[in-house]
Symmetry: C2
Subunit: 264 residues, 2 copies
């Protein structure tokens, strides 16, 4: 299914970015915390560099200033020469170097993690915008520590066996019901709200109209909605993303071949 590139040598340059969206507070405050306490990102074989990705949006607690930063990592943006007149989020001179794309079924990726050789995006939520919740903050912190521990094991020559896992892949997006003028005519049904990754059966209610009636899911098969009623996606015309569940095999990762010693 996925053919992620398997690195063949120890990972030395690791960056952890937070606050790509300035109003998603767990990442904002974890990045700020790590900038002051970087020891938490150190392992024996490498140190991860914390990066606060969008300082101006973070200052004003907004998703972005001029352009959604996490939609700008395409080759056309990355290959253009930035000018002072560009929108704020398109001015990233430090990043205008070689680009490695993580491609999904032929599509170009636009996300921040696509500019790394081995990018990994961690989505935690749903979380309310502009609120730093201790529970999500702690989960994000533990998850990042686990990733760093994995890189450390890999760098030390650990082999990882193949395994199977379940995952979800997008199969479509559903917009809110709208009036002819484009305004909302209803919102996510209470029976769907807060049920990300749970099965949605044909015939189940998905929207509650302001007029009082329910709109039902009319698809033919069970789907697994995610990004349900996500504040940031109102502007993108997305009430939720339909996914399907599938199983895929993660191939074995053999131990690194030790590099020839400089003395040999």
């Amino acid at each position: 299914m996925c053919s992620l590139p398997v690195p063949r040598e120890p990972l030395r340059r690791v960056a952890v970015t937070g606050g790509t969206h300035g109003n998603e507070m767990s990442g904002v405050y974890l990045a700020r915390h790590w900038l002051h306490a970087p020891a938490e990102l150190q392992r024996a074989s490498f140190s991860a560099v914390p990066v606060l990705a969008n300082p101006a949006a973070t200052s004003s607690c907004r998703r972005y200033v001029d352009h959604d930063l996490n939609r700008t990592f395409t080759s056309s943006f990355l290959n253009s020469r930035p000018t002072p007149d560009d929108p704020y989020e398109l001015q990233y001179p430090e990043l205008s170097c070689q680009v490695f794309l993580y491609q999904r079924s032929g599509e170009e990726s636009y996300n921040l993690d696509s500019v790394a050789k081995n990018g990994l995006g961690l989505e935690l939520g749903p979380q309310p915008q502009g609120v730093l919740r201790a529970d999500i903050f702690s989960r994000m912190r533990t998850l990042v520590a686990t990733v760093l521990d994995f890189i450390e094991l890999f760098n030390q020559g650990t082999a990882f066996p193949a395994f199977e896992m379940e995952a979800y892949r997008p199969v479509g997006v559903v917009d809110f019901p709208r009036t002819e003028a484009g305004n909302l005519a209803g919102t996510v049904h209470p029976q769907l709200q807060d049920r990300d990754f749970q099965p949605l059966q044909p015939g189940a209610p998905i929207f509650q109209m302001f007029s009082g009636e329910d709109l039902l899911y009319e698809g033919e098969s069970t789907v697994y909605p995610v990004f349900i009623n996500e504040a940031a996606y109102y502007e993108k015309g997305v009430a939720f993303v339909q996914t399907e569940k599938f199983t895929f095999t993660v191939p074995a990762m053999p131990a690194l071949t030790p590099a020839p010693s400089p003395a040999s």
Copy 2:
């Protein structure tokens, strides 16, 4: 405790405002809905007028554009003549008429409802910014309908007996723990998060520091925190508001004396 003015004649001019803060979505969408379906605000003796209070902030899904609208209803703002150079929220020419203040212990009120003869503010939440949740939307809709029904009963000459009720009044505010530079050094403890109006005992944890330790509530008496970890209050230096619970008597409201008939 409170000495609310008791109106002595039927209420005919009733306004229901929503979207005073443009990213609190229940009020935004209820006001928009009522603008298109005003019959829901009609009663036999009056019709309430729906008002979308801050259209520009609503368009960009922000609390406010230039100035927190719900802090501008003071006599100094209301008595000044607006100019085109004023901040957006200070330009309310339609409202620069006589002002009736709802005063709390000598303080001038700054809230929108203070410009009405009998203003009533309904706070629903906590609700995530930029998200229209059906559960809060429905509660707000029912609550407004109940207020309108009450006005209708009052206008029709219903007498209401005195009764006692419990309420909460603010006794102080608590800021987040901060670094010397003013950044957050921790956030609301998971044992306090989502417990608005529940008792907080001396010695209970209130903040979880990024360094890992807990900060405890060191007050001497039980308080009832509200506005816990409210996104809009980060900029105001408020992690939560401490209240005390008390009982007060709502005086009887006698039936309106029928106005002399024009023919008599």
